[in-house]
């Protein structure tokens, strides 16, 4: 195996992993605040059409080089709007989170298809490299400098989210709300407001993850183009045991699994049926989930209030 081969394989893995990393980071914060939003797939699709549509519009109004950046913003916004819809029902009206999240996925799938009809077959301007082309195209250095800006954004966000949750006061409050909403409420924090902020952030991240599909991997719009990656992102959060650092490792691990299947096929051999590879992320998530739950409850990272409605005594 040559150096070039390994570098190219790593670049493929990074490409596969980035959208689930982005959406997973968002959902991690949401779940840390005690909310389970199962609408990730729907928010990703909204982000995908939002980002693509935003880019098309921006380039139509002559904003050429800025268009991809505007697309990221509109993608994030579209995901966030979906998340706020979820928030209105699940947080303000205290509806069941599981059912509301599923409704959001169905809603996002339908709405993105409907909006997308007028964007099929359009093309959009691409992100330029943020590094000098000598670095971005260098056969070895491209391993570090050859990616879309969104990839670096995702990496920065891993550290930002990890730092936020661990070391900031706001992060502490967010975790407190997720661990014990009633006591957080009793010492004067607005549980609902904190959760709204977390849910909105989760929507924006899922939206950017979705936009990565329609703007970077394959710059086009196609109905249901995320093909179920939102559910993998949900699995990823659990697989990572609700920790940002492990989420990064987990996302790349899932990416490696997917790439391995393709490499094995292209190299002309198959050890196991491809379906086994495809099922692996989910199976391993169940295993990890069980291991986490078996361990001493003290070390448990799953937020105690996950998915439960906030019902303060009035």
């Amino acid at each position: 195996m040559s150096m070039d081969f390994i570098i190219a394989a790593i670049i493929t893995v990074v490409g596969i992993s980035t959208p689930i990393l982005l959406a997973g980071l968002g959902e991690l914060v949401v779940e840390k605040s005690g909310v389970l939003n199962l609408g990730v797939e729907g928010m990703m699709l909204l982000g995908a059409i939002g980002g693509f549509g935003g880019s098309v519009m921006a380039s139509m109004y002559g904003l050429g080089p800025l268009a991809p950046w505007i697309g990221v913003l509109t993608g994030a916004l579209a995901g966030m709007l979906g998340a706020l819809l979820f928030g209105f029902f699940a947080l303000t009206l205290n509806s069941n989170q599981v059912a509301t999240g599923l409704a959001l996925t169905i809603f996002g799938t339908g709405l993105s298809s409907l909006i997308g009809v007028s964007f099929v077959g359009r093309i959009i301007p691409q992100f330029g490299s943020i590094f000098p082309p000598e670095l971005a195209r260098d056969p070895i250095l491209k391993l570090f400098f050859g990616y879309s800006p969104i990839v670096y954004f995702a990496l920065v966000m891993v550290f930002a989210v990890g730092w936020f949750l661990r070391s900031t006061r706001a992060g502490l409050i967010l975790r407190a709300v997720g661990e014990n909403d009633l006591s957080a409420h009793s010492i004067g924090y607005s549980v609902v407001r904190v959760r709204y902020a977390a849910v909105a952030f989760g929507g924006a991240m899922a939206g950017i993850g979705g936009a990565y599909f329609s703007m970077v991997i394959t710059p086009m719009w196609a109905e249901r183009m995320t093909a179920g990656r939102g559910w993998i992102a949900l699995a990823l959060v659990v697989f990572a045991g609700w920790r940002a650092g492990r989420l990064l490792a987990g996302a790349y691990f899932f990416g490696v699994l997917m790439a391995l299947e393709l490499y094995a096929k292209a190299a002309g051999f198959s050890i196991l049926p491809s379906q086994f590879w495809a099922a692996m992320p989910y199976l391993m998530t169940v295993v990890v989930l069980t291991l986490i739950s078996m361990r001493d409850r003290v070390g448990l990272n799953a937020p105690a209030c996950l998915g439960k409605p906030f019902l303060p005594a009035t």
């Binding site: 077959g121 190299a267 198959s270």
Partner: protein, 361 residues
């Protein structure tokens, strides 16, 4: 279903027709013959469905004074297709095209209920008195692509992105490989089946994988332009599938196989108008104009263009067939003897790859 039930079926259809005015009363007043289309994807997919819809528009253009067309897009290939097909029959369609393999049993099922309505199922093999089948010899187009790829590839390693190991894809892989080997006897084809007709992220990742394993030209048998976009980014070459996709990849897109259904649809609709329609199995190619090659990219040198055009011309006058022996399979067994041509019946059920195809299964 026993024959005894036939009468009940007709009765049910009659009752349905009586209920018609609720839905489309206006349509009954018109004299035009209604022709319906069931589409798999959205008509704007720039691939399979887009091409079929072009065929439908050709019918409108040619027979607009005698024929009216209606269509349904995004019809899933499961039982939910049955009510959609039935709906078209109930709306008064005299001829219904179901344009994907996955509608086969559903088409047969609904056809039993409506003996007076004619059905045409694309790429299937089950027929009835009122159900015809039609298909396109896409593999003839693959032979042209293989010729170009074999000549233009520097590494001699070609990539093929497939969906499932169904006869249409196997034929495509084999035609592509054999044609490439005519130009470069050492050419090999790496094949990846992604177990889906449509999964853009996976198509993109699979294309990157093929490139990394040394393929410098990749052709796709899946429905999105994802692979072409990756090839464009890498400065490599590929081909469009089903339609001219050069707008997605102006440099990478060498040419494309275009599916042209218009002539066939016009012929069959005319047969309904004339009352001469009969069930048949039609498998057209270059000669009938069903398979067409898009304009070549500037990057294709003149000598390669000449070779590619020669393949097309050979198919049109019947002097060329890529499935002419000797043909060996992956294990090196002689499958088609020197000078023999594989009969269509064998092509329709083919399930083995030729020598030079590197695949997992």
């Amino acid at each position: 279903m026993a024959k005894l039930n036939r009468r009940h079926f007709i009765a049910a259809a009659g009752a349905a027709a009586a209920a018609m005015p609720l839905l489309g009363g206006k349509a009954l007043a018109q004299e035009k013959v209604k022709v319906g289309f069931i589409f798999l994807g959205p008509i704007g997919d720039y691939g399979w469905t887009w091409a079929h819809n072009k065929g439908r528009e050709a019918v409108d253009a040619a027979l607009g004074d005698k024929v009216e067309t209606i269509y349904v897009e995004n019809v899933a290939e499961d039982a939910s297709a049955i009510p959609v097909i039935r709906d078209l029959a109930q709306q008064g369609c005299k001829l219904i095209f179901t344009t994907s393999y996955g509608y086969m049993d559903q088409t047969i099922e609904v056809a039993k209920e409506f003996p007076d309505v004619k059905f045409e199922h694309c790429t299937g093999f089950k027929r009835a008195d009122n159900v015809a089948t039609y298909n396109s010899k896409f593999h003839e187009g693959r032979a042209v692509l293989g010729t170009i790829a074999g000549k233009m590839s520097k590494t001699g390693v070609l990539g093929y992105l497939g969906s499932y190991k169904v006869p249409e894809v196997v034929l495509g892989v084999n035609a592509f490989t054999l044609a490439a080997q005519k130009q470069n006897p050492a050419a090999t084809v790496k094949l990846v089946m992604i177990d889906s007709w449509f999964d853009p992220p996976k198509e993109a990742a699979a294309t990157e994988t093929l490139i990394n394993l040394g393929c410098d030209i990749v052709t796709t048998h899946t429905d999105s332009p994802a692979a072409l976009q990756i090839l464009e980014q890498k400065g490599l070459y590929g081909f469009g599938q089903g339609a001219d996709m050069s707008s997605f990849a102006p440099n990478a897109h060498l040419t494309a196989i275009e599916d042209i259904w218009g002539p066939y649809y016009i012929e069959r609709a005319q047969a309904i108008v004339d009352g001469t329609w009969a069930s048949a199995d039609t498998w057209d190619g270059f000669k009938e104009g069903t398979v067409v090659i898009s304009p070549y990219n500037k990057a294709v040198p003149a000598d390669v263009v000449a070779l590619a055009d020669a393949v097309q011309a050979g198919y049109k006058d019947g002097t060329y067939d890529i499935f002419t022996g000797p043909i060996y399979d992956q294990e090196g067994t002689l499958r088609v003897k020197e000078g023999e041509i594989m009969p269509l019946a064998d092509l329709a059920v083919i399930d083995w790859f030729v020598k030079g195809v590197e695949s997992a299964a």
